[in-house]
């Protein structure tokens, strides 16, 4: 049977972001995720491991996976590097200061993403010049505010609706590099909608729609919250890894994970799908 060609080409490529000391590249998709049928770029999504400066409300089962090093954020970040994580997602409490960010950046030398109080993030952005960080945000307001003080760092555009106008405003505010966050992934009926949002944003970008070419970040660590406190690490890690797989297949370029098991699985999935 002679079959019609099904491969497709796209007008433009997604934007690439250089983070860390310029040695990590995120994004740059030129097809739907991983699809060699459409001449995919053979690059896997990057995986960032979460580090907190306080263990309040942190799941006990997840904490046990870090052999006690989770009690010191610097050690915890180093452990992520030893585990082969591409970067560290540092979640700072209100009591934190930018010195911790500087210490972790210097010691791990992997790209950092930081979440926390706007003032702390602004301070870190102004003080760290030898490594490009991702300034995480929890709201549109924070994204806009951080854009004014981003230095050369990447700013996260977090929004529940269409991110295009937010990205435009952020650029006007001074953000030179933007990564889009279309929502956190959890295994409930919102997961299908999130996958659609990621996929639609990526396809808009490939078709050349303005302000749709940015790289996409997605946090999958909240899958741990869907279990009670007595969940086995294996079960929670599998759920987190499959959630990561789901968002990577939709087009996420960066995934944030809680557990080392899921980080490892997500990296292996990415390598196989990207044919590396």
């Amino acid at each position: 049977m002679r079959l019609p060609k099904t491969s497709r080409t796209y007008d433009v490529e997604a934007e690439e972001l250089y983070v860390g000391r310029g040695d990590y590249v995120i994004g740059g998709a030129r097809s739907p995720a991983f699809l060699d049928l459409d001449s995919a770029r053979h690059r896997r999504p990057v995986v960032f491991g979460e580090v907190f400066d306080t263990l309040d409300d942190y799941p006990r089962t997840a904490a046990e996976m870090f052999s006690g090093r989770q009690t010191d954020p610097e050690e915890w970040a180093v452990m992520w590097k030893e585990l082969g994580s591409d970067g560290v997602c540092l979640r700072l409490s209100e009591k934190a200061d930018s010195d911790l960010v500087k210490m972790i950046a210097a010691r791990t030398r992997v790209p950092l993403m930081i979440f926390g109080d706007t003032e702390i993030l602004k301070e870190a952005a102004s003080e760290i010049a030898d490594s490009v960080m991702i300034l995480g945000s929890d709201s549109e307001e924070q994204s806009l505010e951080l854009s004014k003080h981003s230095n050369n760092h990447v700013v996260m555009a977090t929004c529940a609706g269409d991110p295009k106008s937010l990205c435009r405003e952020m650029s006007e505010n001074g953000a030179k590099n933007i990564i889009v966050n279309l929502g956190d992934a959890t295994m409930d009926p919102s997961f299908g909608q999130l996958r659609d949002r990621i996929e639609n944003y990526r396809m808009d970008g490939l078709r050349g729609v303005e302000d749709s070419r940015h790289a996409i970040s997605c946090c999958v660590s909240k899958t741990w919250d869907s279990y009670g406190t007595d969940v086995s690490a294996r079960k929670a890690s599998m759920m987190e890894a499959i959630t990561a797989l789901g968002v990577m297949l939709s087009g996420a370029d960066l995934v944030i994970v809680k557990g080392p098991g899921a980080a490892d699985m997500a990296r292996v999935y990415g390598e196989e799908l990207a044919d590396l």
Partner: protein, 212 residues
């Protein structure tokens, strides 16, 4: 639909234990949807015996898988009214499979490694009067699964033979869970798994109920 396999090479008592364990799992987490009775023994009588045992204790969907079409009719007789999906047809045996499926009014799948070949087999089966046909593109890994499922999905817009449901095999263990996930997220309808433990079934169930 996700199906777990029960081999007819197992002792009948062991089959009963496995099926009752899977029934409890289905009751608890809603998985698996179906059981696949696989003719690993290549023995027609054994296949019939195990099909008979399973039909009496499992009330969900059923699949019969064999490489020997001659072993099908007796097993199918034991599953009258259950309309199992028949798996195992390929370029060498498609006529016999079509005959058995047609005689018992059952759906069937056709398997080949290349998309052109598998769609040729769909065409042949359609010409024999079959309408309920599943496509098994015999993928070997996650990457191939993504590419082939996407290709078939796109072809289904213009090629009538590609409009049928896609069946993906995913062996066992955590890698099977990943292939099953890629399949289900990329338009496959039936996933045939050798074995999955309870945690993997629960994870897949959550994925199916959340993402699809």
């Amino acid at each position: 639909m996700i199906a777990l396999t029960v081999s007819d090479a197992m002792d009948p008592d062991a089959v009963c234990i496995r099926v009752s364990e899977l029934m409890k799992r289905k009751e608890r987490i809603g998985f698996p949807d179906a059981l696949c009775i696989r003719n690993d023994s290549f023995d027609g009588e054994r296949f019939e015996e195990i099909a008979d045992i399973i039909s009496k204790i499992w009330d969900g969907e059923l699949i019969l898988e064999t490489d020997e079409p001659v072993n099908l009719p007796k097993a199918l007789l034991r599953l009258m009214g259950r309309r199992p999906l028949i798996v195992g047809a390929n370029a060498q045996n498609i006529e016999q499979f079509c005959m058995a499926a047609g005689m018992f009014g059952c759906p069937m799948s056709v398997s080949a490694e290349r998309i052109e070949e598998v769609l040729d087999l769909v065409h042949k089966a359609s010409e024999s009067g079959m309408t309920d046909i599943a496509i098994d593109p015999m993928v070997k890994n996650m990457k191939q699964c993504l590419e082939v499922c996407t290709d078939l999905y796109r072809l289904s817009d213009t090629v009538p033979e590609a409009k049928h449901p896609v069946l993906i095999r995913a062996w066992s263990g955590e890698y099977a869970m990943s292939i099953a996930s890629v399949s289900l997220l990329n338009h496959a309808s039936i996933v045939l798994v050798d074995d999955l433990d309870s945690d993997c079934c629960e994870t897949l169930n959550k994925l199916v109920t959340s993402a699809l």
